[in-house]
């Protein structure tokens, strides 16, 4: 087994052991913290498919995170007020069922990612960064000024949505659910990576003209990658909304896009478990440094800077080193 595989196992196990320990020690907040990190990790796993594998530097993934969040918020708010979502042309009721919400969230973000991707992928480089940001900003301002679902005030959901057979209000059970989804999305990412699709996507990042020359369109590869990426980030958004029992336009803000990107880069771009390491480290830092000083952002900034300047390939890169990958 390569060093990276060992590290991945340790990360996966650590992510499970820590909340279990917190559960035994009756520190429910630490479980919540771990849940939060796991959700951000899912968002990062999503972005990593576009950014790490496809080389698509999207500064607009908050769009999908937010769409996922609002899918949950809208469905659940209609369910809690017993008002139908749509009466015409056919009746659509809200729902408090997590699986349904997840599917809607993923479908909605997949469609949005297809639309945004189809337009944005006409550009490249810094222009791509900025056009994805532009689309997220449009949704941000729309969400702020759209009064139906709370506008800037956001939308509180009073009770966490349900999952058959589980009590989702119990922190450890909700964590277990999120953890399982995190592993599932990582498995999807691994599958995508090793499949012919991932092989071609990876090649398209490095040598698009070569991919074209073997009869594969890089544009379509990238668009599909962007859609898969947006779908997973959308799922994370729905989970995040359920964790907080609240959605607001802040989920669409460019800072959110930036943070998801930080998780990926901090952990190690294009590394399977990079987003997991990045999100865990970021949340841990936020938690530990936040208590030290009002000005803890200075230390966070300095630390990020050190990682970028001296630790290429993020945390996973530092720990696992540069190893040739094997499919």
């Amino acid at each position: 087994m390569s060093r990276e595989a060992v590290l991945n196992l340790i990360l996966a196990a650590g992510f499970l052991v820590f909340p279990l320990w917190a559960w035994m020690a009756e520190e429910p907040f630490l479980i919540t913290l771990a849940t939060r990190a796991a959700i951000f990790a899912i968002a990062g796993v999503g972005l990593n498919i576009a950014l790490g594998y496809g080389g698509l530097v999207s500064l607009g993934h908050a769009a999908f995170f937010g769409i996922g969040g609002y899918a949950m918020g809208i469905l659940a708010s209609h369910a809690q007020t017993y008002t139908p979502l749509l009466e015409w042309p056919f009746l659509v009721e809200g729902t408090k069922s997590m699986p349904v919400i997840w599917i809607v969230a993923m479908l909605a973000s997949a469609l949005a990612a297809l639309a945004i991707g189809a337009l944005s992928l006409r550009t490249s480089g810094a222009y791509f960064i900025m056009i994805t940001l532009a689309f997220a900003q449009m949704l941000y301002y729309f969400a702020i000024s759209w009064p139906a679902y709370g506008g800037e005030d956001g939308l509180p959901i009073y009770v966490r949505n349900g999952f058959p057979g589980l009590n989702t209000l119990d922190p450890i059970q909700f964590f277990a659910l999120v953890y399982a989804l995190m592993l599932a999305t990582i498995a999807v990412a691994a599958l995508v990576r090793r499949a012919p699709f991932g092989l071609a996507l990876n090649a398209a990042r490095q040598a698009p003209e070569r991919v074209r020359a073997v009869g594969i369109s890089p544009y379509r590869l990238r668009l599909a990658a962007f859609a898969i990426s947006g779908t997973i980030t959308g799922l994370a958004g729905a989970l995040f909304a359920d964790l907080n029992r609240f959605v607001s336009p802040a989920m669409f803000s460019w800072q959110t896009s930036g943070e998801i990107m930080v998780f990926v880069i901090l952990g190690g771009t294009a590394r399977l478990f990079g987003p997991v390491a990045g999100a865990a480290l970021f949340i841990a830092l936020e938690h530990l440094l936040g208590g030290v000083s009002d000005y803890w952002h200075v230390f966070l900034g300095a630390l990020l800077l050190l990682v970028v300047l001296f630790g290429r390939n993020g945390v996973v890169g530092i720990l696992a080193g540069q190893e040739a990958r094997r499919g």
């Binding site: 530097v57 944005s120 900003q137 930080v262 900034g301 970028v308």
Partner: protein, 306 residues
């Protein structure tokens, strides 16, 4: 709606655009020459504003405050170029984004550490206070007219700098190929420090000029940064001319959109619904503009064709 009001709004749009140009020009210069995405540009804008406010409070002189804003931002720019930025030129955009994002955190909270959480006072000098009457009976604030003037002078200055001076030749050569420049015996790293400090100084000056009619507070840089990026992307990254055109386009679109859209929706909606829909659309308008332009021309208006 009177014609005078429309003309005044167009003037407002121009003025807003020129202020945007002040911030965007430094960003596009750095981006064009070094290929660097500098998210911390907004922080340099803030440094300029804070330096100006502190100097104005200490000396009472607006001119000294402007000088201080340029000096402080240029110094901050030179320091971060030597300390951090120059290690990023060879890296990809991702590392640049992350590192300069980290710089934002450090600058913002560092400034709050030094100056506290409360907004600072910075106002325009008495000589420039109040409105003047323009031909056609429009009363327009003198300071805003002056900002338009300063912006245009800087645009001209940058144009001359790049086309007519030795430094400009080196900058253009550096854009083309840094190895050629190095081969010509130019100290490329000093050149980059100078260019970066120049970009920072422009941002600092913009911060002081804008801060005097807006507000000087921590966090003032980020909204400006986003707008500046919108401008340079519309104009085509690296093109000074593009950033001027882009800035004025964004300024006009934003100002006229805010002004005209609610009225447009009033034609077929009730008053308060029109106001709210119109304003919502107006706030998204510049991003719609940017996306449309990029879809039409993927490298901006004056960007190099891929």
């Amino acid at each position: 709606m009177s014609l005078t009001l429309l003309v005044e709004q167009i003037l407002n749009g121009m003025q807003f655009g020129v202020t945007l140009f002040l911030t965007a020009s430094g960003l596009t210069l750095v981006f064009g020459v070094m290929g660097l995405i500098n998210l911390a540009h907004g922080s340099l804008f803030m440094v300029g504003a804070f330096a100006a406010a502190a100097t104005a409070a200490a000396t009472g002189s607006f001119l000294l405050a402007l000088a201080a804003s340029i000096a402080a931002a240029a110094a901050a720019g030179a320091i971060i170029e030597v300390g951090v930025i120059r290690r990023l030129y060879a890296r990809d955009h991702l590392d640049q984004v992350l590192a300069t994002f980290a710089l934002i955190l450090i600058f913002s909270e560092g400034t709050r550490w030094l100056f506290g959480s409360f907004p600072l006072y910075l106002s325009i000098p008495d000589a420039l206070a109040g409105p003047v009457t323009l031909p056609g009976g429009i009363r327009y604030p003198l300071y805003r007219l002056m900002t338009i003037g300063v912006g245009l002078v800087i645009a001209l200055g940058l144009y001359l700098l790049i086309t007519r001076t030795r430094l400009g030749i080196r900058i253009r050569a550096g854009e083309a190929d840094r190895e050629i420049v190095a081969a010509l015996g130019v100290d490329i790293s000093r050149l980059y420090t100078v260019v970066f400090a120049l970009g920072a100084a422009l941002a600092g000056l913009a911060g002081a000029l804008v801060g005097a009619i807006q507000s000087v507070q921590v966090g003032m840089g980020e909204p400006v940064l986003i707008l500046a990026f919108v401008v340079i992307v519309i104009g085509g990254i690296g093109s000074i001319r593009g950033s001027l055109v882009g800035a004025i386009l964004v300024g006009l679109t934003d100002t006229l959109g805010r002004f005209l859209l609610p009225g447009f929706f009033r034609l077929f909606m009730d008053n308060s619904a029109a106001t709210s829909v119109g304003s919502a659309l107006a706030s998204m308008l510049i991003y719609v503009l940017m996306a449309t332009i990029l879809i039409w021309r993927p490298t901006g208006l004056y960007g190099a064709r891929a």
